[in-house]
């Protein structure tokens, strides 16, 4: 390091190597990423956004929503759950005995507390959780045993972690979720909740609009700034606008006026509603809950 050239070369090697690692390599590895396939299905993911939602992403960018919101769910891991869905010819009491018989076996010992608790006051209602949180191997073994005993069971995979417990998503966010975003706004601060699944969680467009107009009207003591400049307050003409936002009394405009979202607000909400990272993928598996009842 006696000459300027020496310093130049050393610095170029240091920065150049990280450039190859963090700029070139990811571009080569992920730059040509194709649509992912939804697990156990032929559907592809993600689906292209509608025009309004695509424009809404730009409203989200221009107003800096990502300064307070992330769009990335974390998980601690995945686990399996075994559900008893049918008893076959067995009676509940018989089944309880069957469970009792498993307890002394070495492979079920570390589940014995859980099994005992699960079936202590069970009166035969179905479906019933047999194993709540276990690995794939034990789940398969249990499923085989149940089958041999003539019962029906279902094994479900699920992701767990605090974000998921908060209801912010059903699985962690993965690269595929962001394929169609430009710019990709993962966010780095959670002054507000994660929005990766806000389209599932808060699917009512009117509530979304109401929240943007007056966050405190939806969440008491909300520290989210109000975005009233995305709305227009105008006199109700001969016919009220079909788009007008319904608001609780203390947030409503003066009598004879209505709050109408500007185009930007509608596009922004279309974007929010398009945030639905809720399909299972190879790299983030889970068993979707089939909503049986309509």
């Amino acid at each position: 390091m006696k000459t300027g050239l020496g310093v130049f070369i050393v610095a170029a090697v240091a920065l150049g190597s990280s450039w190859c690692g963090f700029v070139l390599a990811p571009t080569l590895q992920l730059g040509g990423a194709k649509l992912a396939t939804v697990l156990n299905s032929t559907d592809t993911y993600p689906t292209q956004r509608t025009g309004d939602a695509t424009l809404g992403l730009q409203i989200y960018r221009a107003n800096g929503c990502a300064a307070c919101h992330t769009e990335q769910v974390r998980q601690d891991g995945v686990a399996c759950e075994v559900l008893l869905t049918g008893l076959g010819k067995n009676q509940p009491e018989e089944f309880k005995k069957f469970v009792q018989s498993l307890l002394p076996l070495p492979e079920w010992q570390h589940h014995s507390k859980e099994l005992t608790a699960a079936f202590k006051d069970w009166n035969g209602t179905l479906p019933q959780v047999v194993l709540g949180k276990t690995d794939k191997e034990s789940a398969d073994k249990m499923a085989d045993l149940l089958k041999a005993a003539g019962c029906k069971s279902e094994t479900r995979i699920y992701a767990f972690g605090t974000d998921i417990a908060r209801g912010w998503g059903v699985r962690r966010s993965v690269a595929a979720d962001f394929l169609y975003d430009n710019p990709v706004q993962l966010g780095s601060l959670r002054a507000g909740p994660d929005l990766a699944n806000i389209g599932v969680r808060l699917a009512d467009a009117n509530v979304q609009l109401q929240h943007l107009y007056a966050p405190q009207s939806v969440a008491k003591n909300s520290t989210m700034p109000a975005f009233r400049y995305l709305f227009e307050i105008r006199k109700i003409g001969s016919t009220p606008s079909p788009d007008a936002v319904t608001l609780p009394k203390e947030f409503a405009p003066a009598a004879g006026c209505e709050v109408v979202p500007k185009t930007e607000a509608k596009q922004l909400v279309a974007y929010l509603l398009s945030l639905r990272a809720n399909v299972p993928l190879y790299e983030a598996p889970f068993t979707p809950v089939i909503s049986a009842k309509p």
């Binding site: 107003n63 007056a214 909300s222």
Partner: protein, 478 residues
């Protein structure tokens, strides 16, 4: 070779060559410092009264907060750094600034770029990438201005009379290479019409942010301190060997940090970053040892002068580096990620470490370069104490709020509203810290502006005297 050329330049010549360029760089930097801190106060008002700017799109949090950060980084840190680099290169090389007019043009381009960029953010024209919010026009201006100044610095470096390299040279020279490389990469791949797709965007964004906010500021700040400290205590840097070690480990480990541990990207990326983050401790320790060994036991009174600023800046650097390394460790990152801890580290890096080193350097160099005392030396000393209090009140509560927020977010049964409610008390204190920092920045700006105005008046008077001087008799006749 002409005899005149080989003669060592006098200090007066060197100082005179730097004068206009440095005033142009520092004057603008002082303005952006005030603007950035004021915008920061406006942003934090949101948490005290959320619908304050409900009808004002220009001042909504999501625009003001990035604008405040960019004003501090691009408006203050970078031009101040460039000025200090030019000064150190000229002083160490014992040579006047090469091409002294170029940095003046560049400084104006730079400040125009920052203005364009900030206005753009406030009206919603941003790229949406952290630290790259500036519009394309602004980025082009900044890039061109940086290249011009880097060229001048390189020319001054090449013309040095003192051939031996000082450790400060390595750090500052590397910084001159670093910025154009990362800034062009990030802008060309992210902020164009055909950007890279999907999560490659945030990956490059993190790489850029890390290399700018952590590595670049560290290179310039530490390099400047390695020049200033030995000069102030009048002993050599202890030692050149350690400094070389610190330099190499800083650039080789530092450049690989930045990808958060849980990011939704291929796992090898965050793994590498966590590893590099852990190794970052090595240069931090080396730098701490160098500073302690260089100034330890030195009998130099500090009393709020440049020495104080530099020392405090280096303490903040070590703290900020440790916070950064902690955030890279997967175990802590699970708790600290997405919390106020991150912004606290960034502010400590910019305001506690970098700005303090720059203040120290500027208070040290300005009287020499201008060949005049600071107009208000007492205010400069006051600025030091104000800065310490301001930085502490701003950053410490924010960091604590972050840790608390992180721990509470881990418990899914604590509602987010409660998490936010308990952070409010910390925000109140940190807003006070911001106000104190704003006051300090005004003291700084006052010294610089009065100095500039006095210099301009003196120039004007000399010019006037030249005009009024009685003409030589020979010319009157003709």
């Amino acid at each position: 070779m002409n005899l005149n050329e080989t003669r060592i330049s006098t200090d007066a010549e060197i100082n005179a060559s730097l004068r206009v360029s440095l005033l142009a760089l520092f004057g603008g930097a002082a303005v952006w410092l005030v603007v950035g801190l004021a915008l920061g106060v406006v942003a934090s008002l949101t948490f005290h009264k959320p619908d304050m700017f409900a009808n004002c799109s220009l001042l909504t949090y999501g625009r003001v907060a990035p604008a405040a950060n960019d004003a501090l980084l691009y408006g203050f840190c970078l031009p101040a750094a460039l000025g200090v680099i030019l000064w150190i290169f000229a002083r160490l090389g014992q040579t006047p600034l090469a091409l002294p007019i170029v940095p003046v043009v560049a400084a104006n381009l730079w400040h125009l770029g920052v203005l364009t960029g900030l206005v753009g953010i406030l009206v919603g024209e941003t790229s949406g990438h952290i630290w790259l919010e500036f519009s394309r026009a602004a980025s082009v201006l900044l890039f061109a201005a940086f290249l011009l100044i880097a060229m001048t610095a390189a020319a001054t470096f090449g013309a040095r009379r003192e051939r031996e390299l000082h450790p400060a040279h390595w750090f500052l020279f590397a910084a001159l290479l670093w910025f154009p490389w990362i800034y062009s990469t990030a802008n060309l791949l992210l902020a164009t019409n055909a950007p890279v797709r999907g999560v490659v965007q945030p990956i490059i964004g993190w790489w850029f942010a890390n290399n700018l906010v952590f590595v670049w500021l560290a290179l310039v700040g530490v390099g400047t301190a390695f020049y200033l400290l030995p000069k102030i205590v009048e002993r050599p840097l202890a030692t050149t060997g350690y400094a070389l070690f610190a330099f190499l480990t800083l650039i080789f480990f530092g450049a690989w940090c930045g990808i958060p541990a849980g990011a939704p990207v291929p796992a090898w990326l965050p793994t590498l970053s966590s590893l590099a983050g852990g190794l970052l401790i090595v240069p931090l320790i080396a730098i701490a040892i160098i500073v302690i060994k260089t100034i330890g036991g030195a009998k130099v009174s500090c009393s709020g002068g440049p020495f104080c600023f530099t020392k405090f800046g280096m303490v903040c650097f070590i703290l900020s580096g440790l916070m950064y390394a902690a955030g890279a460790c997967p175990k802590y990152s699970r708790v600290l990620e997405f919390t106020w801890f991150g912004p606290a580290q960034v502010q400590l890096q910019m305001l506690g470490f970098f700005a303090m080193i720059m203040f120290g350097a500027i208070y040290e160099l300005l009287p020499r370069v201008m060949n005049a005392e600071l107009p208000f030396p007492k205010l400069a000393r006051l600025h030091f104490w104000v800065s310490i209090v301001g930085v502490s009140l701003f950053v410490i509560p924010l960091a604590i709020a972050g840790v608390e927020q992180g721990i509470k977010l881990q418990h899914a049964n604590v509602a987010l509203a409660d998490v936010n409610a308990s952070a409010l008390m910390f925000f109140r204190i940190s807003t006070i810290g911001q106000l104190i920092l704003l006051l300090g920045s005004l003291l700084f700006a006052l010294n610089i502006f009065v100095m500039t105005i006095r210099w301009k008046i003196a120039l004007f008077k000399t010019a006037l005297a030249a005009i009024k001087a009685p003409l030589p008799v020979s010319e009157v006749k003709a």
